[in-house]
């Protein structure tokens, strides 16, 4: 009896491994998402990238994604789950997955990892991100031109360098148009909570802001601005549907080309651990059409976009003065260097607020 059971088990195991072998012909690529794919924002755009990948290389690869994976210890388990399921290239698409991804990467040296928006790497772990501050600079120019009250409302998610550099780029641009421009900043301390984002937008408008900018993921703020007859910028994706007469533009994440490039490298065996930080010139993101503004403002925005793309205009051009009135050290020649922007933890002069934790 025991023998036949053993034989049966062995048979099942064999069948199982055979099944795995046939599936292994295709490269398995995994994605870890922080929100639902229908969030119309951050995760939605990553999934559009994944879909572009499938469209391009669908006959050679198989993709799996896990949505709504909380940042923190839970993420580690989810990433490991993807490794165990046989994924050889895994994209973890939120800053908060950084340490979890690194931990799993060290444990499985034969699997390749790609972490979005982080700064920790390993021989089998790359990082990738986009220079969204370039887009924020363009938004700052538009905002200063379009604001009647001279007060911008900014909804932040978490006070991390990416968000802080976005606020600074916005203000540096706005100050070139209106030196006395003010910004009111509310931290939602969440990436995604439509109700709270709407409440933050209401609070900003009630306090006199007439342009709403957001670094959170849902279209709730856009909708409130639309309801109150104010103007707003979308985030991550096209949100004009929620404010046809409200959206000025939106920074659109376009991950597809990058995902295709990296998977091609993996298939060719040339994948290397890299740090990719692309801007408007490398199409890591795009600007949605400039709408709901007069032609001269639109032209200004387009000119700025062209100048940034051509490398003629740098949002963090020196001299840059910090909140304390002292100039910031200029490590990149005539502008701040990438390290200073990626680790930005100060506000520029003209922001009457205290950076949380400073």
């Amino acid at each position: 009896m025991r023998k036949s059971l053993l034989a049966l088990t062995a048979g099942l195991l064999l069948a199982g491994s055979l099944g795995a072998a046939s599936a292994a012909d295709k490269l398995k690529v995994g994605f870890v998402y922080v929100g639902p794919i229908g969030d119309l924002g951050w995760t939605y755009q990553h999934d559009l990238g994944r879909q572009a990948l499938v469209k391009e290389l669908g006959d050679k690869i198989e993709t799996t994604y896990l949505e709504n994976v909380p940042e923190g210890p839970d993420a580690e388990r989810s990433i490991e789950q993807l490794v165990r399921a046989g994924n050889k290239l895994i994209f973890t698409t939120s800053f908060g997955y950084m340490d979890s991804t690194l931990k799993v990467a060290k444990k499985y040296p034969n699997v390749h990892f790609e972490h979005a928006t982080g700064y920790k790497r390993n021989p089998n772990m790359s990082t990738y991100s986009a220079k969204w501050y370039q887009g924020r600079y363009i938004q700052g120019l538009i905002a200063a031109k379009m604001s009647k009250s001279g007060v911008l409302g900014y909804i932040g998610s978490f006070p991390i360098p990416e968000v802080v550099s976005g606020i600074n780029a916005t203000m540096l641009a706005a100050q070139t148009i209106n030196p006395n421009i003010k910004v009111k900043i509310i931290w939602a301390n969440t990436w995604f909570d439509p109700g709270k984002e709407a409440d933050a937008a209401k609070a900003l408008i009630d306090q006199g802001a007439d342009i709403i900018m957001q670094h959170t993921d849902s279209p709730a703020a856009m909708q409130i601005a639309s309801e109150r007859g104010k103007l707003a910028f979308g985030q991550d994706s096209e949100m004009i549907k929620f404010g046809p007469k409200t959206q000025l533009t939106s920074i659109l994440d376009t991950w597809g080309p990058y995902y295709i490039e990296r998977v091609k490298a993996e298939l060719a065996g040339t994948w290397k651990s890299e740090n990719t930080w692309g801007g408007l010139d490398s199409h890591m993101f795009a600007m949605a059409p400039y709408t709901n503004m007069p032609d001269d403002v639109k032209k200004m925005a387009e000119d700025a976009q062209a100048a940034i793309t051509a490398g003629k205009l740098h949002p963090f051009k020196c001299p840059i003065v910090g909140q304390d009135g002292k100039p910031v050290e200029c490590k990149g020649g005539d502008h701040l260097d990438d390290g200073q922007i990626l680790g930005m933890n100060f506000y520029v002069k003209g922001i009457d607020d205290k950076l949380p934790g400073k």
């Binding site: 229908g38 119309l40 900043i185 301390n189 969440t190 439509p194 409440d199 849902s218 909708q223």
Partner: protein
């Protein structure tokens, strides 16, 4: 003055879903059943509520869809936890997981669609009174209903015989059973009332609060409603205090950030939880003291035949 009015309006909007969901759960728990699936029932209510309103063009029918969806979800819970006497905590958690998945499935086709949100009351002259006009006479139907609901539940629990029987089931199901009351049937109704309320609270989000549907849009409000029930020590009056206090601190901390008060935003975000817990704990200490939880809460009851 206008700012004060705007803040009060925002507080009422933020508190209403919590109040409705917590009211339902309070009745469920008072009958002795702990249903941890509020978040799941809410999110299904949100998806179905939006679907209903989108398909029919009527917010009212959308709200009914939400109510029915929440009640059906709770019926699944009742079948498992009451009918089959499965552990209530595990069943409730499973219900939340089921709800999150199910709502994504139902709502998938509606992501990115728009509806006309719930109308706000407008009575000439009255609604135009400064400061209190819009607060008292300019709300949407959900806000008025939530107040009527909690008042009705208070009256039911403390002023009717049926309410007394329901509380008896929650405190000592064996005695209630011995007196001839159909404990399981009463509890099933209580669970379904809780589910209907959770569904309505969920539907409020896409129908009035932020008029679009996105998976996961309840963002943990079901859990807050559950906590409010515990911290209100299962009393409707304190529940009202807790729900509005939570909403008020949530909105005020956002405004405080806009004013640049200089307190770390992480602390401000935690403040609603902290303030609500402290105030409700102080309230329940000031009175009688001791545990006020329904004595049979969460315990399985299998009637002997």
């Amino acid at each position: 003055m206008e700012l004060v009015e705007a803040i009060i309006l925002a507080v009422l909007a933020a508190s209403t879903p919590l109040l409705i969901a917590a009211t339902g759960e309070l009745v469920t728990e008072r009958s002795g059943v702990l249903n941890l699936g509020v978040e799941g029932m809410m999110i299904v209510g949100a998806a179905c509520g939006f679907a209903g309103a989108w398909l029919t063009g009527s917010v009212f029918i959308g709200a009914l869809f939400g109510v029915v969806a929440g009640a059906l979800m709770s019926l699944v819970f009742a079948l498992m936890a009451l009918g089959l006497a499965v552990n209530q905590v595990a069943t409730g958690l499973a219900l939340t997981i089921l709800g999150v998945g199910l709502s994504g499935l139902i709502g998938a086709g509606f992501v990115g669609e728009r509806i006309t949100p719930a109308m706000h009351l407008y009575i000439p002259v009255l609604t135009d009174i400064p400061l209190i006009g819009r607060v008292l006479f300019g709300e949407d139907g959900f806000v008025y209903f939530s107040v009527a609901l909690i008042a009705g539940v208070w009256w039911f629990l403390y002023r009717t015989r049926a309410g007394l029987i329901l509380r008896a089931c929650g405190d000592n199901h064996v005695s209630a059973h011995a007196l001839g009351y159909p404990v399981l049937r009463i509890r099933t109704f209580a669970v379904m009332f809780g589910g209907a309320c959770a569904g309505l609270a969920g539907a409020y989000l896409p129908l009035a609060y932020t008029p679009f549907f996105i998976p996961g849009m309840t963002a943990g409000r079901g859990w807050i409603a559950l906590a409010l029930v515990v911290f209100s020590s299962w009393r409707p009056g304190r529940l009202v205090v807790g729900a509005y206090l939570f909403g008020a601190v949530t909105i005020l901390q956002l405004h405080a950030q806009g004013w640049g008060v200089g307190i770390p935003s992480q602390f401000m975000s935690a403040l609603p939880y902290l303030a609500t817990v402290i105030v409700l704990v102080l309230l329940s200490r000031a009175r009688s003291g001791g545990s006020t939880a329904p004595a049979a809460l969460g315990t399985v009851f299998v009637p002997d035949r």
